[in-house]
């Protein structure tokens, strides 16, 4: 299955979006974010971008201090779910585009593990869509974070 793909017209003449690959190995570099922003400068119908970044916290827990999170996912299912979320959000908000990136594997504290990026002509749609996408993907995507402590113990991250 081709992964990082946009729209396609199927045999019924209807537009069909294939799930995009949202996962990348390791932390999301700040330069990846700026390149993503820069790419939108040719889209001059956009008036507002909303970005959410998840950063790994060095939480102090009863098992020690978190030094990193190791992310795993049921990737195929996550892509199907993310595709549904994307369709819902595009149906609900007048967005120009949406990009979602999530780390797999090892991400150290202070590094970025989630990047959600929505754009629209006017600010409200971008901001509301970004917030709703973040809430939904945290609740619905089969992804798990294993918190690795400084003493090399581990515990499983719990989302609130």
């Amino acid at each position: 299955m081709g992964l990082p793909v946009g729209k396609k017209i199927n045999s019924f003449g209807m537009s069909e979006r294939k799930p995009k690959n949202i996962f990348q190995q390791g932390a999301i570099p700040a330069t990846f974010i700026s390149e993503s922003i820069q790419k939108h400068s040719s889209q001059t119908a956009i008036g507002g971008h909303s970005i959410f970044l998840g950063q790994v916290r060095a939480d102090e827990t009863e098992n020690g201090k978190v030094k990193a999170i190791e992310f795993t996912a049921f990737e195929d299912m996550a892509h199907e779910k993310m595709h549904l979320i994307r369709e819902d959000i595009f149906a609900k908000y007048p967005l120009t585009c949406m990009h979602v990136h999530h780390s797999l594997g090892h991400v150290q504290s202070g590094e970025i593990c989630l990047f959600v990026f929505t754009s629209s002509a006017h600010r409200k749609a971008a901001m509301d869509a970004c917030q709703e996408t973040v809430e939904r993907l945290k609740a619905e995507l089969p992804i798990w974070g294993k918190e690795i402590m400084e003493n090399d113990e581990h515990q499983w991250k719990v989302n609130k």
Binding site: G54, M77, V134, K138, L141, P142, W144, G145, W156, V158
Partner: protein, 77 residues
């Protein structure tokens, strides 16, 4: 008929494996009983079940070879 079972997250701490193939099991209730016998701590773990990537509720029959995923609470982001 075979069932391909995938374990994720904290469940792999219990099972020690991420995948398992079982034969001659025809519904999810029987599958769960079998798994809880193999891995008693699973019975106390919180998880949802996905059949062929769709989350299911209650007992479901397998129609042909199936992939079952045991999904502990999600913690992405």
């Amino acid at each position: 008929m075979q069932v391909h079972i995938m374990f994720f997250g904290q469940l792999t701490d219990i099972t020690g494996t991420q995948e398992l193939v079982l034969h001659d099991i025809y519904d999810t209730n029987t599958l769960q009983e079998t798994l809880h016998e193999l891995y008693p701590a699973l019975a106390n773990a919180k998880y949802a079940i996905a059949m062929n990537k769709k989350t299911i509720q209650g007992n479901s029959m397998f129609s042909g070879d199936s992939t079952i995923a045991l999904l502990p609470p999600f913690s992405g982001g």
